[in-house]
């Protein structure tokens, strides 16, 4: 079977996004766009984490710290009167990338369990650092006002406009990461995950590649944070809580790691489930737990392979 071109997945996401938008409006459910924007943003954050977990084999348990970083970059700049999104959003990416470049050399010295622990430790440090920032709301959080401004016609305080902007940015970012996955750099990352010692014996200074992956993933997650700040109109240290990092990991693993599209599916699924179930019962995490166990047992490659359940005879790729 001939593989689909790189842009097919991005095009599918864009198509589904616009179709959803049209249906939501046609059925008088325009309020859905808010949830949809949130899902897209978390989806992008999960996809950026997949670059680390699924490609480079670095299981980060602190990835949400870059959501916090990007979110506060927007919140603080807005508070200080710098409202242009053309500046805010790139700054969110750069600051997140710089943070990763700073802590990367420390956390990348370790592997496996210690990498999990150290990324968690740094995200907790950032969490408590922002809890103490009283100028920017401390643990109460910070209102993002006004929203990022681009051009006059684009008003992000309108949920519809925001959804379209988020959809377009997410599609561009997805495409870029799809390219990365198939690039020479992407292959090096896969090699690092499977056998780092072998990579070194071939001549790769694996540390450099892993650090670059860490920085890229952080910058993309920072962009997601910047958009999340606009979606919720509010940033707080909770953005970078360890529970949030855990949710991102769940999205990646639930959807199917190492595939990019898997984590997006995972994000859609998890947040929809949360949205629907939390209206029925406050015990919804219990149901989620049961579901995770089932997926882990029956779909070890994640939800994206759900079709195997319906065609048991054929081979699973």
């Amino acid at each position: 079977m001939k593989a689909l071109p790189d842009w097919a997945f991005t095009a599918a996401v864009a198509f589904c996004g616009f179709a959803f938008f049209a249906i939501a409006h046609a059925t008088g459910n325009a309020i859905w766009t808010d949830v949809a924007s949130r899902i897209l943003v978390y989806g992008l954050a999960a996809v950026s984490l997949d670059i680390l977990v699924g490609y480079a084999g670095m299981v980060s348990f602190g990835h949400a710290m870059f959501l916090l970083c990007g979110g506060y970059a927007v919140g603080i700049l807005a508070r200080e009167g710098l409202v242009s999104g053309f500046i805010q959003w790139p700054v969110a990416m750069i600051v997140s990338g710089l943070l990763a470049a700073l802590i990367g050399p420390l956390v990348l010295r370790t592997g496996g369990v210690y990498f999990i622990l150290l990324t968690l430790a740094f995200s907790q440090m950032l969490f408590f650092l922002f809890t103490g920032f009283s100028r920017y709301g401390g643990d109460e959080g910070l209102q993002v006002y006004p929203r990022s401004e681009f051009i006059r016609a684009v008003d992000l305080s309108n949920p519809d406009t925001l959804f379209i902007v988020v959809l377009l940015v997410v599609c561009v970012a997805l495409y870029a990461m799809q390219r990365l996955a198939k690039s020479p750099f992407g292959l090096v990352l896969k090699g690092c995950r499977q056998n780092e010692k072998r990579m070194q014996a071939l001549g790769y200074q694996t540390f450099r590649y892993k650090l670059l992956a860490f920085v890229i993933a952080a910058a993309v997650c920072g962009l997601a944070g910047a958009m999340l700040a606009n979606v919720t109109g509010f940033v707080s240290p909770e953005y970078g809580s360890w529970q949030r990092s855990g949710e991102l990991l769940v999205m990646v693993i639930l959807g199917g790691m190492g595939t990019l599209r898997g984590p997006l599916i995972g994000a859609i699924f998890l947040l929809m489930l949360e949205h629907v179930l939390s209206e029925q019962t406050e015990h919804w995490p219990l149901l989620l737990g049961v579901l995770l166990v089932l997926v882990a047992i029956y779909l070890p490659n994640g939800l994206r392979t759900v079709s195997v359940l319906f065609r048991r005879q054929s081979n699973v790729s």
Binding site: R179, P184, F185, Q200, A201, Y204
Partner: protein, 256 residues
């Protein structure tokens, strides 16, 4: 031959792990195009020595020279770039990648900055694809290019490993038990393969299959308890009394 400058020169290298002395005062050299075999009973420190030469383990003492340059302070990737390549005792290919991708990783390791490219797809690089296929062809497995490496037989994986080590004409090949786990047919095929390379690439070979060792090696060094007890051509090693005592248990050598 003795006038030739050695490719690899190991001088008085020692290594201990905690209280265990793995290598003590090892000196040896490998001449251009030569197959130098390292034999010795289990626990003689052969693999530790190879790991030190590859740059994965730092010696406590002594120096390692490649083409006259001191490489003792270089790490594994730096030495690989200078031309020291190794294969592993336990087959180490990238199981989830295709055979071609395995070779591609070996090829692009030498291309420097190109490996940091994140936009251009790897498939678009014709030159890289050609050189990767050529590397596979060298060991006769180009036909398997599109198979996942995990689907290869043990012998085929061994050949893939050799192909990856041979990319870019290394100065020195470190082969850690290349025939381990192979059947008789596969072994003789691999011996033939190595014989073809012999003369162009210097090799340091660890092997327990003495038949294969004696048919391939120009010189042998016998390692006992971390120290070389004898170095010489196959005939002199065969008849060396000290070697018999330490390694062959005083019986005359009949390569089995």
């Amino acid at each position: 031959m003795s006038l030739e400058k050695p490719v690899l020169s190991v001088q008085n290298v020692s290594k201990s792990f905690g209280g265990v002395q793995a290598n003590r005062d090892v000196s040896l050299d490998v001449l251009p195009g030569e197959v130098h075999a390292l034999i010795g009973p289990n626990g003689a420190g052969k693999t530790t020595l190879i790991s030190m030469l590859a740059g994965e383990v730092t010696p406590n003492d002594g120096a390692i020279y490649l083409d006259g340059h001191d490489v003792t302070g270089l790490n594994a990737p730096q030495r690989a770039k200078r031309g020291i390549r190794r294969s592993f005792q336990i087959t180490s290919v990238f199981a989830e990648l295709t055979v071609l991708e395995n070779a591609t990783l070996a090829c692009q390791a030498l291309s420097g900055r190109a490996t940091y490219r994140t936009w251009r797809p790897i498939a678009a690089d014709r030159q890289l694809r050609d050189s990767s296929l050529a590397a596979l062809d060298k060991v006769g497995i180009a036909a398997l290019a599109d198979r996942p490496a995990a689907a290869l037989s043990h012998g085929e994986k061994r050949h893939l490993e050799l192909a990856m080590a041979l990319v870019g004409e290394p100065r020195l090949l470190l082969l850690d038990e290349p025939f381990a786990g192979m059947g008789a047919d596969e072994t003789s095929e691999m011996v033939e393969r190595l014989r073809k390379i012999k003369g162009t690439t210097a090799m340091l070979l660890i092997e327990h299959d003495l038949d294969a060792v004696f048919s391939l090696a120009d010189r042998l060094t016998v390692l006992v308890l971390g120290t070389p007890v004898a170095t010489g051509d196959p005939d002199s090693i065969r008849s060396n009394a000290e070697v018999h005592a330490a390694y062959f248990g005083k019986k005359p050598v009949t390569p089995c």
